[in-house]
Amino acid sequence: MGLGLLASRLIRPQKTAARNLLLRSIVTKPELQSAEPATTPQPDLPPRTPLAGARVHFPNPDDAIEVFVDGYPVKIPKGMTVLQACEVAGVDIPRFCYHSRLSIAGNCRMCLVEVEKSPKPVASCAMPALPGMKIKTDTPVAKKAREGVMEFLLMNHPLDCPICDQGGECDLQDQSMAFGSDRGRFTEVKRSVVDKNLGPLVKTVMTRCIQCTRCVRFATEVAGVQDLGMLGRGSGEEIGTYVEKLMTSELSGNVIDICPVGALTSKPFAFKARNWELKGTETIDVTDAVGSNIRIDSRGPEVMRITPRLNEDINEEWISDKTRFCYDGLKRQRLNDPMIRGADGRFKAVSWHDVLAVVAEIAHQVKPEEMVGIAGKLSDAESMMALKDFLNKMGSNNVWCEGNGPSPNADLRSGYIMNTGINGLENADVFLLVGTQPRVEAAMVNARIRKTVRGSNAKVAYVGPPTEFNYDCEHLGTGPETLTEIAEGRHSFCSTLSNAKNPAIIVGAGLFERSDKDAIFSAVEAIAKNGNVVRPDWNGFNVLLLNAAQAAALDLGLVPESSQSIESAKFVYLMGADDVDLEKLPNDAFVVYQGHHGDRGVYRANVVLPASAFSEKEGTYENTEGCTQQTLPAVPTVGDARDDWKIIRALSEVAGVKLPYDTVGAIRSRIKTVAPNLLSVEEREPATFWASLKPDATQKVSSTPFKVAIENFYMTDSITRASKIMAQCSALLLKK
């Protein structure tokens, strides 16, 4: 072998490498080298179904236009964007900044598609579809555009996926796998951005931010706080709070979900688990009366995080911070053994057999009218039914649900549910809020009101203590006398109300506790009558409940026989009731606390029966608009705890008044005889009769101004009070 041959062998591979290098510097993938605009029409494709089962609503059939997506014709209403047209045609366009519930920014350029006769690729999220437009989503031009955008985005994005909490559910990760190039050409130093402190809920790693501005738009549009914004230009561009400030919104956790990368992640969930090792359970939230649809992600016996589930009628795709971050309360302060308080005042763990025997014996020692049963704010319908049946069998009818007040109106369903429906609030044009602060009582309802105010310029006025709203709101007065003024037509707001097309009145459930409740409700009903709020085609009279158990309790008829029963009680059965005022309870009364947390109720209890929390049981709940929903068990029960209704069923047998149901199915057929609407799950059952059937109230309104119903948004029930995250939130985020 000659020396020259050897030398040429050495040289040859180098030559080809150099040629490759030259090619790489022009375009990344060989097939995209000649990315000419596609001119040949695509062959006929089989019909494709719209993405995620999306349905197109034509407000005006004449305004339908036809466009062609990849050669396939679709009919869409006028005003839709190219991206929406593609979705209807069943083509998923990659996107970062576009979000269907937020305004259009058009700054990520990921959704570029080719449109025939257009010189350049167009950003489909911002381009309105025009009649006859020929959209091509899968051509070399579109692919090259996406690849280019991905390369620019990844230029300054850190390669820290292995330590990123978004890893596995990251839009950037997924889309770079699908549309990105397999190598980058960036050799300089990546930029880094200082992390922002947004509070105890949202963790920021701002270097990962791709400036899609979804969080900024969410904060200003949905949450209604002007906290977040864009600073700087070009590569110095960053998301921030202008001045050092925490994000003080009750919806702030949603920016975690809408962030397409790992820039905004959950602080309590940080480095706790990977999303692919979690088991998701689709259930509902019970921390307020909205019943937001959630998914509980658990690993083994532990709830790792809570994320929202889409439900257009209730929570859209948002949930409040309390819903999202209350889960660490499920691990603290739990009751796991049946306990009896000894003579020394300390609790001693005993077996279920012994504790039920003790409770049954004492229940028989007191007179039936001295027995009281109180259901807690997190109780499910099954256990409330069992509690009522048990006490009725023992001869007592003093059973109620906390928060419903001393003399609740359970006769007319229209008097305690949201007759308009949460979704229906969007059709209202005037809101009158009576004694309610929806922002803390039901954050999702408040988000819906804000959406209406933003979308259709609805007017909002409120009667109650001065409150901060995140939309324009007129303060009419603080007490019931303003209400009487409006009812009698002496107030300036009357003309607004009578000129409104769809007026809505929202009454807070905090008023249930007032002694002049009936008079206030008849005043509100008078306003409703004068303002034509209740018509055959529109019912604008709403009661905004506070707790998950309230509506079902009233449906099941948990109404106390006398409002003074606590004072004369000798045997009190608290089924998770922690916020009942037991001050007036006689000292020799025997208190049984059945519940899942060692909360306020336990301090006075003589016997503790451990029960399961909402994440551990199957239970029926009815939300404030009358929609029945069910929880599903995500994790096993703690310790020796049992489901609520099972405890009462077992106790009834030990006490010799056996309840006739052994299974959830059997107890539901019992519920069917009382409130059949609690069996039609995921359905909203509107009220049938309107309050005009009610006899006139003889009460007089008192002059006491309305009070704030919820002092601390973050801590309202035993689960949230046990939560460390909620404690941090109330310390940092509540205005003092």
């Binding site: 057999h353 096993p636 029960t637 049992r642 099972k646 047998e653 030990v654």
Partner: protein, 136 residues
């Protein structure tokens, strides 16, 4: 000592079918005595002195045998004897671990074996299940 008992077991194991219930009954007593004789070795192997006494273990064996007192078929008794012998052999030859012994013979299925649990004849299936756990 342990090896001696193991030896005895090996001799004992070879046995034909019992011809009558009486013969099977006699074999049960032989088995019981053998088991009782191996108890000191068992206590020794598994370090059971601080959790249980010999007499408690004896009554545990008795209760296991009494559980089948209603059986009158000699073949079934032979089969049960064989199983018992198998189990005894496993225990004596240290094929088990300490927590097996404690779990099976000292604590029993649910909690304490000596609890003699709830013997209310009137309790329903629901209540029995309720006492034993939440999932039924």
């Amino acid at each position: 000592m342990a090896t001696a008992t193991a030896q005895a077991l090996r001799v004992m194991k070879v046995s034909g079918n019992s011809r009558s219930v009486e013969e099977a009954r006699a074999r049960v007593f032989d088995f019981f005595k053998l088991a009782c004789r191996s108890l000191p070795a068992v206590m020794d192997i598994y370090n059971l002195d601080d959790v249980v006494t010999k007499s408690q273990l004896r009554s545990a064996i008795t209760s296991q045998i009494r559980k089948n007192s209603h059986i009158t078929n000699a073949k079934v008794i032979d089969m049960l004897l064989f199983k018992g012998m198998e189990e005894l052999g496993n225990i004596v030859e240290h094929h088990k671990q300490r927590h097996h012994i404690i779990g099976q013979y000292i604590l029993g299925k649910d909690g304490t074996l000596h609890d003699s649990s709830i013997k209310d004849p009137g309790t329903s299936d629901f209540l029995k299940n309720f006492y034993s756990g939440n999932y039924f």
